[in-house]
Structure formats: C-alpha cells, structure tokens
C-alpha cells in the first residue's frame, strides 16, 4: 500500500513538472462563426510558424465555431476569447454593449472597418438548376423551397435577409413596404431555419432539403468543391450585399491573460499578403489589391450594396429588422 502511494506521488510529481520544462508557450482562443473553420485551420498554422520566427515563441491557437450571434453570447457569458472573428459588426457591438469587454470604437482599430476579408451572398442550387433560379425574384415563386439559417442566431442569415431586402428596394418603384412584402414571401418558402450557416448547408447538401440555399460565397464554393461539382451549381444574383466579417481582440481577456501582443499580431497577420492569400484560397474576397487581382477570376463581379449606405449601419439594421418585435418577427410570425 505504501509503495503504491509512493508511486502515485512520484507520477503526480512528474506530471506537474512537465509544463515547467516545456518551451515558452502561449495559447490563444479564436471564437469564430460557422464557415471559417477551414480558413482558420490553415491560417493558424501559418501564423504559428510566423510567430515562432518573429518572437521565438510557440503559439497554439484554439478554435470555437458556431452561429455568430450564439458565439458572441458565449463571449459575453465568459468564454475566454482572445480574439473574435465574427460574421458581422453588430455581434461584436453586443460584446461591448452587454459586457464592456471591448471599447465602443473597436471597429476603428484595424483597417477596412476591421474586416480583413469580405464575402457576399450567393445561391447554391442543385445541378442543372431544375427550378430555373436566376435571381432573388425567383425565390418568392410558389413551390420554390429556400434554405437559410435563422437570422436571430446566424450572421449569415442576417446578410441573406438584408441582401433580399436590398434587392427589393432596388427594383423599379421599390419601397419599404414592398421590400417587407417581398421578404415575407421569401420566408414563407423556407421550410426550416437552422441556427447556423453550416447547419443550413448540411440540411441542403446532406439531407437534400430545398431547391436553393442562400449561402456565404465561401460556403457555397466549399460545398461545391468538397461534395462534388456534379451535384451543385452556384448562381450569382444581380444584386447582393457586401458582407464584412469583422475581427477584434477582446481587451479585457488579453489584458488578464497577458496575450495582447500575440493576439494583435495574429489579427494584423490577416492583413499581410500571406494572410490575404490564405483568405482568398478559402474563397473570402481579399482586401489587398494585388491578391485580389491574382484571384480575380474566381470571384464573379456583382453589384454589392453596403450595410452602411443601404441600412444605416448594423446597429440600426439590427434594431429595425432583427430585434425582438422587429420586422423579421412580424413577417415570420404571420
């Protein structure tokens, strides 16, 4: 018995001594939204190499993915994110409003509204486009089944919704009332609302539900490339929205953990030519002109509305459309 206890103590002592002998090691947690899994897998290993060269420090970046709104909620509730890379600015605004973990002007801290890459919303349809879906107006036709996630929890879904709204406004004599009616009709054709973009993609691709998936451009490319060019096609509508997924360090967390330097370097690396290349390879539209020119062929030219011009910024859009009792609640309840 005594020797057993002795052995156990020895093992315990050895186990606790291991971390002491290890190299200087930092851990970062990047809390992100659904479709960025593959992007950050690549980006993280590239940054780890870079940081090792630059600061002679081993950095391990852990990832958490989910619907953008849900992820912001987790950070507000205390998930220790060093950086967040979410689908839209409003979710990060919430982190300021509800938990004061970041300053109000967080979006001014990095170039391009703190969005190192952009994306847009496109349609994914089944091969041969059997329902002849060409533009937003085809989505409200009777008998067309549309798959999109829930705008309450998913960032992508909110971009989807606003892109549809923007399209309706841009039509001849378009006004708010018509846009509302258009979006109401569109959501009547939605049989199921998943909580995140990835869930919707799986619903469309794997479970075979729906005629058209409203998806992030990068998500649509990924689905086509991963699951077969013979099964799906991408349809680019006449008008879409410029989606700017922003990034920021969470000040309260990095200051407590002492990881501010590496966290800031991590986000800045997204803006370097290497970071931009990785983003472009994963079908995010790069900001860097040179990289954008190099990958220009992949990304179709679309007329892109912006959230600031069309909707007066995210705070306003959120309040009017997605807050409790907002327009989405009104049209979806009926």
């Amino acid at each position: 018995m005594k020797t057993l206890i002795g052995k156990a103590l020895l093992v315990a002592a050895l186990a606790t001594s291991i971390p002491l002998t290890a190299f200087a090691q930092v851990n970062l947690l990047n809390v992100s939204y659904d479709p960025t899994r593959e992007l950050y897998q690549d980006f993280n290993s590239a940054f780890a190499k870079q940081w090792k060269k630059q600061a002679r420090e081993d950095v391990t970046i852990k990832q958490s993915h989910g619907g953008s709104g849900k992820q912001a909620r987790a950070v507000i509730d205390g998930l220790d994110a060093d950086v967040v890379t979410l689908a839209l600015a409003y979710d990060i605004d919430e982190i300021h409003d509800r938990a004061k973990l970041i300053p109000q002007a967080w979006q001014k801290r990095l170039p391009h509204n703190s969005s190192p890459y952009t994306s847009t919303i496109v349609f994914l349809v089944r091969k041969g486009n059997p329902k002849k879906i060409k533009d937003w107006s085809d989505l409200v036709k009777p008998g067309v089944s549309v798959i999109t996630p829930n705008p309450k929890t998913s960032g992508g879904a909110r971009w989807n919704y606003l892109a549809a709204w923007g399209y309706a406004l841009k039509q001849k004599g378009g006004n708010e009332a018509q846009a509302k009616e258009f979006v109401r009709k569109l959501f009547k054709n939605v049989p199921v609302l998943d909580s995140g973009a990835r869930g919707s993609t799986t619903t469309f691709v794997q479970r075979g539900l729906g005629d058209v998936l409203l998806a992030w451009e990068n998500e649509a490319f990924l689905a086509v490339n991963e699951l077969g060019k013979d099964k799906f096609e991408i349809v680019v509508p006449s008008v879409s929205i410029l989606a700017e997924p922003p990034v920021t360090v969470i000040d309260k967390v990095v200051d407590r953990k002492g990881t501010r330097k590496v966290a800031e370097a991590y986000l800045k690396y997204l803006y370097t030519p290497e970071g931009q290349e990785i983003a472009a390879r994963h079908y995010y539209r790069p900001r860097d002109k040179k990289v954008a020119a190099k990958y220009g062929k992949i990304f179709p030219k679309v007329k892109l509305l912006t959230i600031d011009q069309q909707f007066g910024g995210w705070r306003k859009a959120q309040k009017v459309h997605f807050a409790d009792g907002g327009i989405f609640d009104q049209i979806y309840a009926k």
């Binding site: 659904d34 899994r37 852990k62 990832q63 958490s64 987790a74 509730d77 205390g78 998930l79």
Partner: protein, 290 residues
C-alpha cells in the same frame, strides 16, 4: 349424457380457440416489435459502423487517434469518472434516507430527485450559465478570483452531474422500499452500529441495484449532448466531449471521422446493454436463491 359430451367438446374447442388466437396475435406483436427495433435501432447502428469504416480501417483508426478526438475522449472519460461516483454516493444516501426513514418533506425530496428527468437538458445547461456566466450571479466574483467554471471542464462536469442525478437513486428507492427495514432492525437489535448495519446488511442487499444504476448513469454521462453543449463553449481540443466532437466533425463534412467517433458511443451502448442484461440476470438469480 350425449348433451354433456357435446358440451365438453364445445368447451375444449373454445378453449383451444382461446389458445390459438392469442398465439397468432402474440406472434404478430412480437414480429412488429422486432421489425420496429430492427428499423429504428439496429439499422442506424449498422449505418454508423458502415459509414465509419467506409474508407477502411486505417482511416477509422486515424480519426480516433487525431489529437482533438483523443482530447474529446479524455474529457468524456474524466467527466464520467467524476460525475458517476458522486451520483453514486448521492444516490445511495438519498435512497437510504427515503426508503428507510420517515421524515417530513420525504415525498418532496423524491420529486426533487426526479427534477432533472423533467427538465430539458438545454435548460439544465442554461441554469449554470445564469449562475456562473460572466453576466450571471456569481460570474464577476469567480472572474475576480480567476476561477473558471462555465466554458471549462468544471461546468461540463456540473451539467453532467445534474442530468445524471436521478439514475442511481431512482433505481435504488423502489428496491430498498420493497426490501423493507426488517433486516436492518434485526441487525440493530443484535447490537450492530449504524455503519455496520449499512456495510453488512444493506449494501449486500442492494449491490446489484447499485451496479444497474451506475451503468445507466455512466451511459448517460458519456452520451449527454444538450446540457453539455450549452456550457462547453465548443473549444476544440479542450472543452469538447465525444458527442460534441461528433457534431463538429459532421459539420465539417468529415463524415468518416464523425461516424468513427460516433461508433465509440455505439460501442458504449452495446457494452451498456450487455452489462445491463447481465446485472438483470444476476438480480433475478439472487432473488430466486432467496
């Protein structure tokens, strides 16, 4: 006489009818149950394994050896290793007090034990977010003292304990109630202390019941998704349990790996079922010996 003879044959006939008709019905019922079981349990289980092995055994093993998968397996084992013994102690203590003593609030306690069964697991998880989350009651204090509960291992263990709370107690209460307190009273009369009575009289009587409860408790602890999902934070390699890891892999279009890891839970289910029927058989033979 003749009339009586006719009567008896009629009676025989009708009694034979009574036997044959239910027999047919019985077979139909059994067949229906088997078809149902096959369709809803065996086919999905087979599907899990065939999907997992779709790209061969190498790919299957690779999926299980992957660091994030290993971390998920480790976390699930740790969670079960902590929550099951705690619920075992709790279950025995509460079943003991409920079955052997009369006290005010006894039926209220029984209702309380059942609470986790009646509450949706998502709500069970949210309770802990409300309590320990940064915006919750204890959140700021916990952060000031650098204690992490939610989005960390302690939160996952707490949520698991909550969800698996009733299994052992629920198993033991009826068993101990049916056994009554005669044997314990005899032991006390013969001069045994409380502890002696427990170790030598009560425990041997309920050991198979305990094992049964522990098996069910463990199966649920390892397989719980909802409550754990709410408090986990989904950080791969550190706060993902096996069920959460399966979901992540599936969402990454990594179907082989998803089903490979899912097959672990499938195997757990099979082991649980075998262990459960063994224990049930033991309980029956023990009862038969008596």
């Amino acid at each position: 006489m003749n009339v009586a003879g006719v009567l008896t044959t009629k009676k025989e006939l009708s009694s034979r009818n009574e036997l044959t008709e239910p027999l047919l019905v019985r077979w139909l019922l059994i067949a229906a149950a088997l078809v149902f079981l096959g369709l809803f349990l065996l086919v999905p289980l087979a599907a899990v394994f065939s999907q997992a092995l779709e790209k061969g055994f190498e790919a299957y093993l690779a999926a299980l050896k992957e660091p994030d998968a290993l971390a998920a397996i480790r976390l699930t084992l740790i969670t079960a290793a902590i929550s099951v013994p705690l619920n075992l102690i709790f279950g025995v203590v509460s079943a003991w007090s409920i079955a052997k003593f009369d006290f005010p609030g006894r039926s209220f306690l029984i209702t309380l034990i059942d609470l986790p069964f009646s509450v949706s697991p998502v709500i069970s998880g949210l309770i802990y977010v409300l309590l320990f989350g940064l915006q919750g009651w204890l959140g700021p204090w916990l952060q000031a003292h650098d204690i992490k509960i939610i989005f960390a291992v302690p939160g996952i263990i707490l949520a698991t304990i909550f969800v698996t709370f009733p299994f052992v107690a629920r198993e033991l209460i009826p068993l101990m109630e049916s056994q009554g307190k005669d044997e314990e009273e005899a032991a006390r009369v013969l001069g045994a202390s409380g502890l002696q009575t427990f170790w030598r009289v009560t425990l041997p009587n309920i050991r198979w019941g305990i094992l049964y409860g522990v098996i069910l408790c463990n199966a649920r602890a390892m397989g719980e998704f909802g409550a754990v999902s709410v408090v986990s934070g989904h950080v791969r390699g550190s706060t993902n349990t096996i069920p959460l890891h399966v979901e992540i892999l599936y969402n990454e279009y990594n179907y082989v790996a998803a089903f490979a890891v899912a097959s672990l839970l499938g195997m757990l289910a099979i082991v649980t079922l075998v262990a459960k029927s063994f224990v049930e058989w033991r309980i029956r033979t023990v009862k038969g010996e008596e």
